[in-house]
Amino acid sequence: MQFFGETHINFVDFRNKAFILSLVLILAGLGSLAIKGGPDLSIDFEGGTLVQLRFDKPVPISTLRTIIEEAGYEKGDIQEFGDPKEFLITIEKISETEIAAEKLLEALVKTAPDAGWNLVSAKEMPPDFSRDFEGGNLVVVEAASLPPMDGLKEGVRENGVGFVEVTKESESRVAFSLPYLGIESKAAQELKEIVMAQFPDRKIEIRRTETVGPKIGEELKNRAWAAIIISMFGILVYISWRFEFKFAIGAILALAHDVIITLGIFSLLGKEISLVIIAALLTIVGYSLNDTIVVFDRIRENFSLRRRESYDRMINISINESLGRTIITSLTTLIVVVSLYFYGGEVIHDFAFALLVGVVVGTYSSIFVASPVLIEWQNRFTARSKTRS
C-alpha cells in the first residue's frame, strides 16, 4: 500500500501563489485582530469569573440570557456548552485597582449623568472574613449632588460593573467595594437561585467555577509571551547550530505564519485565547517545526549529494522526497486530533480546534513557506554577496 511513490510536483514554482494565499490568510487574521483591538483573551489573562452550570433537562438559552440580563449581569456572556443542558457563563472581568476605579466612574456617569462624579481614592483591600469580604478594591467617589442610594448598585451593575457593595459615607461621598474572589460562588449561588425561581422543577449543578484576579492575569500574559519568545529563540539557536542561519529564518517565519493564521482564525470565529490555547499554539510550533526540520534535513542531505543541481531544483526534489512522510504523519496526527475534537469533551474542544487548524497550516507551511524562504534568501542575500566578492 502506498499513496505516494516518487513524486515530481513543482512546489517551488508554485511558491508565489502560495505566498499570496498565506498573505491573504495572514491579513484577514491581522485585520480581524486589529478591528477587535487584539485577541479575545479569556479570564486566564484578563481576570474575571466563569461559572459552568448544568441542568437536568434542556433549558432554552434565550430564556436564560433574559433571566441573567434582568438580574443585572449585562456584561455577562452566556453560551451553550456541549449540549442544551449545560451552559458557560462568564461574568465581568476583574480589574486592577486603577482600572476598576475608572470603570466604576464610567458606569456611575452612565447611571446618573448629572451628579458630577469625582474619584476620591482607590486602593486594594485584604479580606475581612468577619464581614464576608474576601479581598478586592475599595473605591471612594464623591458627587456634587448625590443621587438616591436606592438603585445605585443596580445602576452601576447594569452599566457593566457587577458585584459591588455600596456604602454611603457622607452627604457627598460613596464607597464602593469591588471584591475579587468569593464572587464566583456568590455569583453562581445567586444565578442558581434566580434560575431555580424561574424553573422550579429543574435541578441545577455547579460544575466548575474559575476566578482569576487581575494581577495573576497580567503575570500569566507576561509568562505566555516569555514562553513564546524564549522557545522561538531556542529554536533559532538550535537550527542555526545544526543547519545554517537562513534555515532558522525559514523555520521561524513558517512558525510565525502558523501562529498568526491560527490566532487570526480564532479572532474571526470570536473564540477566546486561554492558557490552554497558548499551550496548543506552542504545540503547533513544535509540530510545524518537526515537519519543517524533516524537509530541511533532506535539503541538507541533498546539498552534499547533488552539488550540480540548481538550488531551486534541489529544494523541490527534497520536498518531493519527504512528501510521503509529511502527508502520512499529518494524517495520523489529524486522526487523533479529530477524535479529540469530536470525543474529547467540551472543555478540550477549543484546544483540539486550535490543533486541527495548526496541523493543517503547519503542514502547508513546511512545504510552501519554510523551504521557499530559503530560495528567496539565497536569491536575495547569498547570491548578491557572491557577485560582490
Partner: protein, 578 residues
C-alpha cells in the same frame, strides 16, 4: 544472536518491565471496585495509602476540588518579620488543612510571596477560603478604666476640633454599615459625662470565676442633641457604661472614621487601642448600639501559647455555642500572673482585632482556661476551633486566583479523554497496519510501548494527570508514530533503489536517525519552555508531551529497530512487508 542485539533486547526488557512495575499500583487501584477500595482504606489504611501514593494521581480538573492562589500581604510587617513570613504562613495553613481532613492536599510556595493550596474533592469553597484565610489572632487584654478613657476622649475632642468634614471620608475603612453623615447626633455636655461616671450596681454572680456581661443592659437614657462643634468626638458618643463607651448605631461609622484619623491615632497613647465589641447591644430607647473599649497593649496574654480550643455549648444559654480554650504551661503562667494582678478588672477576649467578650476577673486563673463567646453556627465554631489550634497567620492573605471543579465534571472529562484516546489509538493502529502491513504492526507495538513508558514515568515521578495532560498523551499517539513513518519511508526509498532488505533497513534507520533527533529535540525545546513557564494545567501538558517525545525516540530507534532486526536476522524473508 549478535552481542548488540542481545544488549538491545535486555535494555528493551528492562524498560518495559520497569514501566509495568511502576504501573502496577495504578492497575490494582483501577481493578478494585469502589466498595473494595473503601473496605481496604478502612481495614488496611497504611497499605491503601501506599498504593494510592504510588498510583498515577489525578489532577484537580479530573478529581474535582479547589485550587487557590494566595498572596502574603507583608506591607504591614517589619523588615525582619518579612524574612520568613511566607514559610510561617505555609506552616499555619498546613496545620489548618491537616485538621480540616482533606486527603492529599497540596500546599506549596510559588515565587517569593505566593502560596498555592490545592484541596482535592473539596466542595465548599467559601468555607475553605475562610478556614485558610482567617488570621485567627487571639489576645486576652486588660480593659482600661473609665478615668483613663475620659482623659483620652477629652484629648480627642481637642485634637479633632479643626478636622475638616471632607478629610473624614478618605481615611475610611470598609464597613458593612450605612453611615448617616451629619444627621442629628447624640450629644451630651461634660457634666453629663461626669454624671455618667458613676458606678453601676454590680449584678454578677459572685461564685463565678469569670462572668461575661449580657449583651444588652438597661442603659441610662440620654437625650439626642445637635452636633456640638466644640466636641467633635464626644458629641457622637452616647454614654459610659462601666468602663466603656456606648455608641449609637447611627454614629458607629462616624466614630470609626474619627478614630482612624491620624490626629486621633496620635492622641491615643501607644499602650492602648480603641476596639469594638463584635456584637450589637439593644438600647433602652430603641435602636442598637456598639460598645467601644479602650484596651491595653502592654497588659495582655497573647494566643501564641494556646494549646487547645474546642467548641462547647454555653452553660447559661443551651442553644448558644462558645469555644473553650486552653493555654500551655507558659501561657497558663502568664495568664495566672495577668489575672492575679487584675482582680475585679474587666478584660477583653480579642479575636482578629474584635472583642468577642469582656469578662470581669474575680479570682486568679491558675489553669490557663478561658472561653470565647459569640454567635456561632456549628460549622463556624468547629472551624474557629481548628484555626485557633493551628495558630494565627503572620500576615493577611489576599486571594489571587481560585478554581473549583465539581466531581461530576472531573469524571466526565476522564471518560471523554479516555474515549478520544482509545479511538485515536485504534484508528492510528488500523491505518498503520493498512498502510505499512507488518511494519505498521511493529510501529503500533512501538506506540504501545511508548504509552507504557509514558504512564510508567508519570507514576514514577508522582506527576498528576490533568485534562491537558491527557490531550498531550493523545497528541503523542499521533506524533510519536512520526519517527517510524520517517524510517519506513526511508526504507521504502532504499528498497526502490533495489537494495537488499538488510541494507535497506540499515540505511533507512541510519539516514532517518539525524532527522528524528533534530525534529524531536526542537519539539522538546518548546515542551521544556512550556513546562518552565506554564502553570497548573499547562505543566501537566508539557510533562506528558516531553516524556512522549523521549519515549517515542526510544521506542522508534531502539525498540522497533530491534523487532526489525529479529524479524530479518536469518535472511529468510524475501520481501519486506512495508
Amino acid at each position: 544472536m549478535s552481542k548488540s542485539l542481545r544488549y538491545k533486547t535486555i535494555l528493551v526488557l528492562i524498560v518495559s518491565l520497569g514501566a509495568l512495575w511502576f504501573l502496577l499500583p495504578t492497575f490494582r487501584l483501577i481493578m478494585m471496585s469502589e466498595e473494595e477500595r473503601q473496605a481496604m482504606a478502612i481495614e488496611r489504611p497504611e497499605e491503601y495509602d501506599k498504593l494510592e501514593s504510588k498510583a498515577i494521581k489525578r489532577g484537580l480538573d479530573l478529581s474535582g476540588g479547589m485550587h487557590l492562589v494566595l498572596e502574603v500581604d507583608d506591607s504591614k510587617l517589619d523588615e525582619d518579620e518579612r524574612v520568613d513570613v511566607v514559610d510561617r504562613a505555609l506552616e499555619v495553613i498546613r496545620n489548618r488543612v491537616d485538621q480540616f481532613g482533606v486527603t492529599e492536599p497540596v500546599i506549596k510556595r510559588e515565587g517569593s510571596k505566593r502560596i498555592i493550596v490545592q484541596l482535592p474533592g473539596l466542595q465548599d469553597p467559601a468555607r475553605a477560603r475562610r478556614l485558610i484565610g482567617q488570621t485567627a489572632m487571639l489576645e486576652w487584654r486588660l480593659i482600661r478604666q473609665r478615668a483613663v478613657v475620659v482623659d483620652i476622649v477629652k484629648r480627642l475632642d481637642v485634637v479633632l476640633r479643626d478636622t475638616p468634614e471632607d478629610s473624614l471620608a478618605e481615611k475610611q475603612v470598609i464597613e458593612g454599615e450605612t453611615s448617616i453623615g451629619t444627621d442629628p447626633v447624640l450629644d451630651r455636655s461634660e457634666t453629663e459625662i461626669a454624671a455618667a461616671i458613676q458606678d453601676q450596681p454590680d449584678s454578677f454572680a459572685q461564685d463565678s470565676l469569670l462572668f461575661p456581661l449580657p449583651q444588652s443592659e438597661i442603659l441610662p437614657e440620654i437625650p439626642l442633641q445637635e452636633s456640638d462643634r466644640d466636641k467633635p468626638f464626644s458629641s457622637y458618643l452616647m454614654t459610659f457604661y462601666k468602663d466603656w463607651l456606648v455608641v449609637h448605631e447611627k454614629n458607629v461609622p462616624r466614630v470609626r472614621k474619627l478614630l482612624a484619623l491620624e490626629e486621633a491615632q496620635k492622641a491615643i497613647p501607644d499602650d492602648s487601642d480603641f476596639l469594638w465589641l463584635d456584637e450589637w447591644a439593644d438600647l433602652p430607647e430603641g435602636g442598637r448600639g456598639k460598645f467601644l473599649f479602650l484596651v491595653a497593649r502592654d497588659e495582655m496574654v497573647s494566643g501564641k501559647n494556646l494549646q487547645n480550643a474546642t467548641p462547647a455549648s454555653d452553660p447559661n444559654s443551651p442553644n448558644k455555642l462558645l469555644i473553650r480554650f486552653q493555654f500551655n504551661r507558659a501561657g497558663a503562667r502568664e495568664l495566672s500572673r495577668f489575672t492575679g494582678k487584675n482582680i475585679n478588672r474587666f478584660t477583653a477576649i480579642v479575636l482578629d482585632g474584635k472583642i468577642k467578650s469582656y469578662p470581669i476577673i474575680r479570682t486568679k486563673i491558675p489553669d490557663g482556661r478561658g472561653v470565647i463567646e459569640g454567635t456561632f453556627t456549628d460549622t463556624e465554631a468547629k472551624d474557629l476551633s481548628v484555626v485557633l489550634r493551628a495558630g494565627a497567620l503572620p500576615a493577611d492573605l489576599i486571594p489571587r486566583e481560585e478554581r473549583t471543579v465539581g466531581p461530576s465534571l472531573g469524571s466526565d472529562s476522564i471518560m471523554m479523554g479516555l474515549r478520544a484516546a482509545l479511538l485515536g489509538l485504534a484508528l492510528v493502529v488500523l491505518f498503520m497496519v493498512f498502510y505499512y502491513k507488518i511494519s505498521g504492526l511493529i510501529a503500533s507495538l512501538a506506540l504501545i510501548l511508548n504509552l507504557l513508558i509514558l504512564f510508567g514515568l508519570l507514576a514514577y515521578l508522582g506527576a498528576a494527570l490533568t485534562l491537558p495532560g491527557i490531550a498531550g498523551i493523545i497528541l503523542t499517539i499521533g506524533m510519536a508514530i512520526d519517527a517510524n513513518v520517517l524510517i519506513f519511508e526511508r526504507i521504502r526509498e532504499e528498497l526502490r533503489k533495489a537494495k537488499t532488505i538488510r541494507s535497506a533497513i540499515d540505511a533507512g534507520y541510519d539516514k532517518a536517525f539525524t532527522t528524528i533527533v533534530d525534529a524531536n529535540l526542537t519539539t522538546l525545546i518548546t515542551a521544556v519552555v512550556l513546562w518552565q513557564f506554564g502553570t497548573g494545567p499547562i505543566k501537566g501538558f508539557a510533562t506528558t508531551l516531553s516524556i512522549g517525545i523521549l519515549g517515542s525516540m526510544f521506542s522508534a530507534l531502539i525498540f522497533s529497530r530491534l523487532l526489525f532486526d529479529l524479524w530479518t536476522k536469518n535472511g529468510k524473508i524475501k520481501k519486506l512487508s512495508i
